[in-house]
Symmetry: C2
Subunit: 404 residues, 2 copies
């Protein structure tokens, strides 16, 4: 029996286009994880979630353990609506779908909107999981560079004009992480946000706003694209993964009712009543603003610690963007292949994510890597950067002696 003869045509294409591959090499037992996109273990409210589950079951008994029936599922939706509202996004109940993390939202959006004829625009660099999801649906992906002020909308406009002139198909949807972007840590300024929405109207495309870090700006919180969208072009995706706990898998998508109805239809009953009710029960007990302020204070301090360490231990030629929030610092090391560097770095007990994972064309990321300042303690961050700095100095010396 030939197994792959049973794969559907679309799936055969997707597997050819983007074959299942090994993700990062295995990390050694003792490793300072500057690769990790996990929250700080100390800040994960495990005790409070334990108590929230106990309260939930004492109050509702079996209700949250059925397919449907826990009133806290509706409550969770209201809690999220309230947060969106506070940030300028008026979203009705029928315009919001709770998903199993932001990734399920991205996959549902891709499934409903993208087929092999669709052009998708993404940022360069961008979130690797999103890139993989889009590649499951189309090969036609174009990328637009990000700088210290976010997506370069002037370059996007050039691409759109050029494609129009050449009669090439225009993007159906543009994927952006406008605030504290993954992996660059930079934020799109207001002028570019307005420009992007104007272009979406002119060239008739949708905007997928991934707001996973939207509440983790170290300075003033920028206004979400969804809040200034007057045409219903923005699908706003959010998540509690970075501000509560990723393991609860609570994400959402907010958008026009017709879209949400279609997403819900293809989601079927893949709801998680127990997880949703547990999180609603947890959110009832806490002051969310207070928690956010605490997270921002701690993460911003850890970010400063990492940046200070970079300044002390990294060679002069290395540069980085100053993160405006979120979890990550994006580092440029001219002349070094960071995937090759990772193998040596793991021997020294430090991990990072090589830049190649964040680009449509992996070679565009060769000289970059992403560091996380969230997961490890400040002492470990300093130790990790110290070891990484020594390795970089060493490798850059070897390179320059080879060039002589």
């Amino acid at each position: 029996m030939k197994i792959d003869s049973f794969f559907s045509n679309n799936i055969k294409k997707a597997l050819k286009n983007n074959p299942p591959g090994e993700w990062m090499p295995a990390l050694p037992e003792e490793c300072i994880r500057l690769s990790s996109g996990y929250p700080d273990p100390v800040l994960v409210p495990s005790q409070q979630i334990k108590e929230a589950v106990a309260k939930l079951i004492e109050e509702e008994q079996d209700l949250p353990l059925h397919y449907l029936g826990s009133p806290r599922i509706d409550l969770l939706k209201q809690q999220i609506q309230k947060r969106l509202h506070q940030r300028g996004m008026k979203v009705y109940e029928r315009e919001l779908l709770i998903t199993s993390g932001a990734c399920q939202a991205l996959d549902l959006i891709a499934r409903v909107i993208i087929d092999e004829e669709s052009v998708v625009a993404v940022e360069a660099p961008t979130y690797m999981e999103a890139l993989e999801i889009f590649q499951n649906y189309t090969k036609q992906i174009i990328n637009i560079p990000v700088d210290e002020n976010g997506l370069q909308t002037s370059l996007l406009e050039e691409v759109l004009k050029e494609r129009t002139q050449k009669g090439l198909p225009l993007p159906r949807i543009l994927y952006t992480i406008p605030t504290a972007q993954n992996p660059t840590g930079t934020t799109m300024d207001l002028e570019r946000r307005k420009h992007l929405l104007k272009l979406a109207g002119e060239y008739d495309f949708l905007i997928l706003e991934d707001d996973a870090y939207g509440e983790l700006s170290f300075g003033d919180s920028p206004i979400p694209l969804k809040a200034i969208d007057t045409e219903g072009r923005v699908l706003h995706v959010g998540s509690l993964s970075k501000v509560v706990a990723p393991g609860m898998r609570i994400g959402w998508v907010a958008g026009s009712e017709e879209f949400i109805t279609a997403f819900a239809w293809f989601k079927k009953d893949l709801d998680h009543p127990f997880a949703q009710a547990s999180v609603a029960s947890y959110l009832e007990e806490i002051d969310f603003e207070e928690r956010l302020n605490m997270l921002k204070e701690i993460y911003s301090k850890k970010c400063d610690t990492l940046i200070d360490a970079l300044q002390i231990y990294f060679p002069e030629s290395v540069t980085w963007y100053m993160p405006s929030g979120g979890y990550f610092v994006w580092v440029h090391i001219p002349g070094l292949d960071t995937s090759e560097l990772l193998v040596r770095s793991l021997v020294k007990g430090v991990s990072f994510i090589p830049g190649e994972y964040f680009f449509l064309k992996p070679q565009d990321g060769t000289e970059y890597f992403r560091l996380s300042f969230c997961y490890e303690s400040e002492a470990e961050i300093i130790e990790g950067i110290k070891r990484l700095g020594q390795l970089l100095t060493e490798r850059l010396k070897v390179n320059s002696s080879l060039l002589k």
Copy 2:
């Protein structure tokens, strides 16, 4: 902005083929739910799950709240492998994927295997959610009747022969619930199981074995198709929804490694570490065999109660299959439209699911309905059947007087 212009071509077809619709009418506040596929609330181990979560978090702290990291996710896989093994299915770790309930497994299988050119064979009647999922991928669905001994494989063989003679495409996959079928409650006998596997080899199709009720046979447990499959044609889907709690959303698919790799690839990181670890922690504490015996004893008694009540209160012309396990009784009421009946039944405070939901062609189910004996207490079951019996007697009288 025209929203549906942004839907992909496949999705436009799927929405046209199978538009999002209202499910059952809303049930009145006080209603005896003979419609419900929920387990008996008394048998949902809510206290034990509460304790399992407490133990999990005391022992692992933040680990089950990250994307990955709880050792209990591997443990859950081993616990499921062990259960499969005990039932004659040797499944390696790489041949098993944990899913978010059986429905996610069905959707992943459909996504990877079915496209608009694929023919899918289903049982008639069959599980409505599965039918909806398949209809999202193809219009080409054929159905094969079920009787008191399960899928009528001789009729399947006729269809296969006829399609071969006529040069019509053969099914790529056949979906069956061989044990305690939903909605008929009947079980495929061993001879038919062997015949089905033989046909799958001869006509080169896959078998999707939905085993949601496989451990809830009231008599001897029949051997799963997967256990007697020598060619790797069976994708075996299971779930803890009916034997632990649906709200935890723990399902799985077992099959050849190449399939499982593809399913895992398209599932992305839609895992539920917290739910999976909580269930593993719960399973550690219980004797699963003992729990199954308890469930079978209670559900079999409730089934007898419902059948006895049918014999007492239902008119003579009404017939049903004697369930061999599971949750449901399938009832035939010659000459009545059960969807029309439901409206009147809800007024009397009793719900059931009209037969039309379980058929590709709804009109095939007009004279049938599905009753559940699991959710309600024995007293409520008797009261519900009594009310339903009065209504049936009344409606059949009206019908026969109209015919005079």
